[in-house]
Symmetry: C2
Amino acid sequence: MRFLGKGTVVFDEKPSIKSFAAVVGKKEGEGPYGKCFDAVEEDAYFGQKTWEKAESENLRRSVQLALEKGSFEEKDIDFSISGDLLNQCISSGYALRGLDIPFFGVYGACSTMAESLVLGSVITGGGAAKNILCSTSSHFCSAEKQFRTPLEYGGQRTPNAQWTVTGSGALVVGEGSAPPYVEAVTCGRIVDLGVTDIGNMGAAMAPAFVDTVKRHLETLGREAQYYDLILSGDLGIIGKSLAKELFAKEGIDIGDKYDDCGAMIFDKETQDTHAGGSGCGCAASILCGHILPEMKKGNLRRVLFAATGALMSPTATFQGESIPSISHAVSLEA
Amino acid sequence: MRFLGKGTVVFDEKPSIKSFAAVVGKKEGEGPYGKCFDAVEEDAYFGQKTWEKAESENLRRSVQLALEKGSFEEKDIDFSISGDLLNQCISSGYALRGLDIPFFGVYGACSTMAESLVLGSVITGGGAAKNILCSTSSHFCSAEKQFRTPLEYGGQRTPNAQWTVTGSGALVVGEGSAPPYVEAVTCGRIVDLGVTDIGNMGAAMAPAFVDTVKRHLETLGREAQYYDLILSGDLGIIGKSLAKELFAKEGIDIGDKYDDCGAMIFDKETQDTHAGGSGCGCAASILCGHILPEMKKGNLRRVLFAATGALMSPTATFQGESIPSISHAVSLEA
């Protein structure tokens, strides 16, 4: 493991992503990637009594599946790293309390899947663990309730609104000799260009994404073309187009290598999600349900996964604050 | 760096705590450790317009001081790790957005100072960074507003209630040859014995503290007497006495080596804080304002710092959930 500066670490012995799983809700199951996910739950409550418990149950299931698919028992996992959007990260705390695994809680908003994978890779890459469980979740109903209005209110969605994904992803990263590998990581810095419109998170987060990708490419001396795919977390359709503009301004030729999990997960024409998907579970379920399986099959060789998060809260917004954003990048190789 | 299992890592090349600072509010400045802190702010608003911004400004100041005291510029710091109790960790996000330093957000409730120091030590111990900034904060008024009732309501405090500390701590850990050092760390697991009384956080968190200390001692083959001081984060006066009972039940002879930051920070007789202090800033300000300076002076040689956190939210409590807790331990050596 070598530290190159500017948040970037490259691995000589590349951590292996040994197991992964994604569990999503009904709407996500009806989207373009519906068949990729390990499980689709028709019941928005996941058999629970509240939206928060539903989200936590969703996360618990993808964690369980990731362990099972890799034939891991609790004792095989050295650390668990997880976080989510709910106040005090209760989806993760309650989902993982049943496991006898040392736990690091993280908060990176929708960048959480990338943040936990960056941390997990650095910890195992440094020799402090053999296997680390990384996971995150989001739920449309718990997010609407907490960040916008209760569903019963029937609030009108603006055209630039994104739809929080009901979904979760979990993976085990550690010492191993089978692809996909984590080849390098870049930890993002907080970027805040003064966007205050919480209905337009893509615009707030796009600069953080471009900042992290730029530093990643510069530090490693790479062109964007090095990757088969550069993937942002959940900028959505508007944020994706802004990111393309910002890349052009920075002189980075992103070509046709770039896509966004938020723009991918729902069908633009038929699913009425306006600017696309969002939430920790968006990038997590696309990574664990689609990207990692495609890498395992050999259909993708080099992917830069850079989930994006907005670090604001409703309270900060009510106080007139702008939206600080962050993006962490993981270079995956098969 | 060697991984010993059960969340414990020991360092052959011990990370050094190179700089530290603590900034607190007026009441904390009037307490038994008032003279230890780097700065005491008389204005509860810290010159800001809201309690949340006050907390964030407090954190910004201790971070700034920790950098200045160690003669660090932003470019010298490879990563920053921070989190707090506010929804979506906005104290940290807004305090640190002005720094050009790659950022990992964490959520460990009141265990955050220990969690960030465990992670920082493991990252620098593995060679992925030279200098890492770890910090956290809490504020009495932002915490009361978010977790209990608005101050204006004038709610009656129960005898077992704790008083959230207005304070923050920041430190730089990294490669270095001057004490105090981080000698070993133990990442805690989530422990939930079913306590549902949010007025009695000490009772909820004490089992997590004892669990982590027990695993730490067992894994390293040590007796409690190895340490000059074993310090819990913010169990308060009631939680401290419960922890002593639990140690006795586990057959661990804690002797007179044990104290608690929450029981220490306020004067029991004169400051009317009932069961003592709490909040991320409690353990952080005692660590950075008192423990680390005492170690530097040679008055303490071996300290096990084990901050404790309750991972619940008001929403989870309203839904009848119990309080999952966690404690991370850092073995400090001078």
